[in-house]
Symmetry: C2
Subunit: 339 residues, 2 copies
Amino acid sequence: MTNNSNKPVSAVPKLEDVARAAGVSTATVSRCLNTPDRVSRKTIKRVMDAIDSLGYSPNYSARALAAGRTNTIGAIIPTMENAIFARGIQAFQEELQKNGCTLLVASSSYRQDLEEEQIKTLTARGADALLLIGFQRDPHLYEFLEKRKIPFVLTWACKPSHEQLFVGFDNRKAMKELAARVISLGHRSLGCISAETATNDRASERVEGICAAMQDAGLDPGSLRIVETTYSIENGEKAFHQLLTGDNAPTAVLCGNDVLAIGALRGAAALNLRVPQDVAITGFDDIELASVAPIPLTTVHVPHRRMGQLAARVLIDALNDVPASSVELPTEVCLRKTL
Amino acid sequence: MTNNSNKPVSAVPKLEDVARAAGVSTATVSRCLNTPDRVSRKTIKRVMDAIDSLGYSPNYSARALAAGRTNTIGAIIPTMENAIFARGIQAFQEELQKNGCTLLVASSSYRQDLEEEQIKTLTARGADALLLIGFQRDPHLYEFLEKRKIPFVLTWACKPSHEQLFVGFDNRKAMKELAARVISLGHRSLGCISAETATNDRASERVEGICAAMQDAGLDPGSLRIVETTYSIENGEKAFHQLLTGDNAPTAVLCGNDVLAIGALRGAAALNLRVPQDVAITGFDDIELASVAPIPLTTVHVPHRRMGQLAARVLIDALNDVPASSVELPTEVCLRKTL
DNA sequence: AACAAAAATGTAAGCGCTTACATTTTTGTT
DNA sequence: AACAAAAATGTAAGCGCTTACATTTTTGTT
C-alpha cells in the first residue's frame, strides 16, 4: 500500500509506534500509561523514553472507546455570565483537573428544553458524569440518566428527602432567615423581585421562604407583592420602579439575587428614595458586586466555590464506586447597609 | 458466548441496533445522521423512527475515532472568575453550540506552565481547535499546534504583523488613548496598578500604552510609578495605598483592569481622598461592576461578547477550510466619574 | 538445584462508529 | 422499451486504543 491518504509523512505517533520504538507490545505501553505498577521499572523507563522522543500523547477518543470511559465530566448551567455560576464552575473545574478529568460545558439559558437537549448531547459526547443546577426537570430525564448509569450531582439547591445526590444549600431556609430579619426590624409591607418561579426551583424556594417568614410573624403571605423578571441590573431597576410606584408601596424589597438588588438600588436612587431609611433592599448570593455597591448590600452569603469543589469530589467518588453522599452547605445572612 | 460482562440486558443501543431495526445497513444509518442528502426520504423516515423508538444516540468517541474529528473545541483561559473571560467564553460557547460543537474548558491561573499542560491535554482529548488568550507563550507551542494542524485563535490582544489568527483588540492603543485623556486633564504625576507584566502581554501592552502617551505629551515615562500585583479588589486596594502613601504620590492612578480600580476606589475612601478631586482613578474592561461602583468608573469598554462570538466563527471557518481572517475589534474610552 | 507461585509480558479481539469502493436501484433520455 | 447516468445502498476495513486470556520470565522457598 502506498501512502494513499494525504497524511503527512510525520504523522502523529500512535501507541503502536511507541511499542515498536521501545521494543515491547502495545499492551505493555498501554499498561505503562494506565497501570504502571504492573510493569517492571526497566520497561517503564524504556517506554517513557520512547514516548518522550516521539512526542507521543494518547488519543483520548480511542481510549474512551476501548475503555468505555472518557474521563470527561459535563456541567450544564444557566449561564456563565452570572458570577455565581462562573465561580462555582471554576472551582469545579480546578478540582476535576486535579483528578485528571476534563470539563465539558454547556449552557441552558434558564430554559428547560435547552437543558434537556444539552443533557442528551453531553451524554452522547461521553460525559462520564454530570453536574446539574437545581432539582426541577422532567422526571424522564432522571430515568434516562439512571438507565445509562451516569452519575449526576444536583447543585445550588437541596432536598434531603430525595434520593438524588446533591451538593447544595437550602434556598427556602436561607431566604426565610433573611426575611425574618427584615420583619423583625418592623417591616410589615414586603415586596419581592424574583426570577421566573415556574421553571426555577431556587427562585420559587426563595419566595416560599419569604412567605414562611411572614406566616411565622403573623403577616399574610398573600400580601407579598411579587414581580418576576429575568436576572439583570436593568430588569431589577424596572421591577423596583413598578413595585414602588404602585399602590401601597412596600417598605422592604427582597430580591432574588444580588444583581436584581443592585438594579433595585439604582431604581431607588432614581426615585430619590433613601436606602434603608425610605426603603430597605436585600440581595442573595453575596457576589463581589454586593460589598462594592454604592450602599453595601445586605444579602445571603452562599459558598459557591466550596459547592463547586465538593460537587467535583462527589462525582469523582461516584465514578470510582466510592459511596458518595449529599452535602448541605450552610449559608449566612450578611448584614450590611441596605437594611 | 453467554452474557459474560455485567452489562445490563437493556444495553445502550448502538448504530447496529438501529440498522437492524430499520432493515438497512450501518452505512445507511450513518449517512442518515451525517449526510442525509445522500439518502432517500423514505429511508430517512424509517431510520429516524428506529432511532426514536430505540432512544439511540451516537457514541461520540467512536464517531471521533472513525471520522478523525471530535466536533469539540477547547478554550484555555486564565480563570472563569474574571467576568470578562466568563462573558467572552459564554458567547463563544453559544456560537459553538449553534454549530454543533461542544466546548472543553481548562484554566491556567495565569501560569504559562499550566497553560502549556492544558494545551497538551486538550489536544490529546481531541480538541479540533483551540481558543487561547494573548500571544505570549513558548514558540515551540505554536510549532506543536501547527505540526498537528490544529487551528487556534488568539484573543484579547492583537498583533496585525504576526501571521497567527486572532480576534482581539489593541491593548496598547486603548490604554494610550485613555492615558492621553488623563494627561490632557492636567495630570503630570501618574501611577499605575498592573497585573504581572512579565507573563501577561495584555498587561504589559497596557503599561506601554501609558508610557507612549506620556512620551507624546513630553512627560518622562520613567516617572510612571508602577505597582504589579494580581487581579483582586483587595490587591488593588493595597497597591493603591502603597502608591498614595509613598514619596510624591501620583494625582492619577491608571489601573490594569476594573477589579483593581474598584480596589483603588476603596483605598481612596480609606485614605479619605476624594475621587476625582484629590486623585483620579481609571479602570479597563468595562465590566458590570464599573458602572455600578460607588463612583462610576472611567474605563475602557471592550466588546467581550462579540470577541467570543467572532472567535468561534473564525475557528469554525478554519475547520471547514473556509479562509478565515483575523479581526481587530474597536475599544472605546468610557468617561464616567472617577476622572 | 528444583519447583511453585507471582510478576511481567504478549496475542489478538473488540469498543462503535465512518467511508472508500462495489453493487443495486432509480431516473431521465431517446 | 432500452440504455446510460445518477442516486441510493451495501460490504467490510480501519480509526487507536484496552484488556481477557495465554505465555514467558522472575522470585522465593526448600
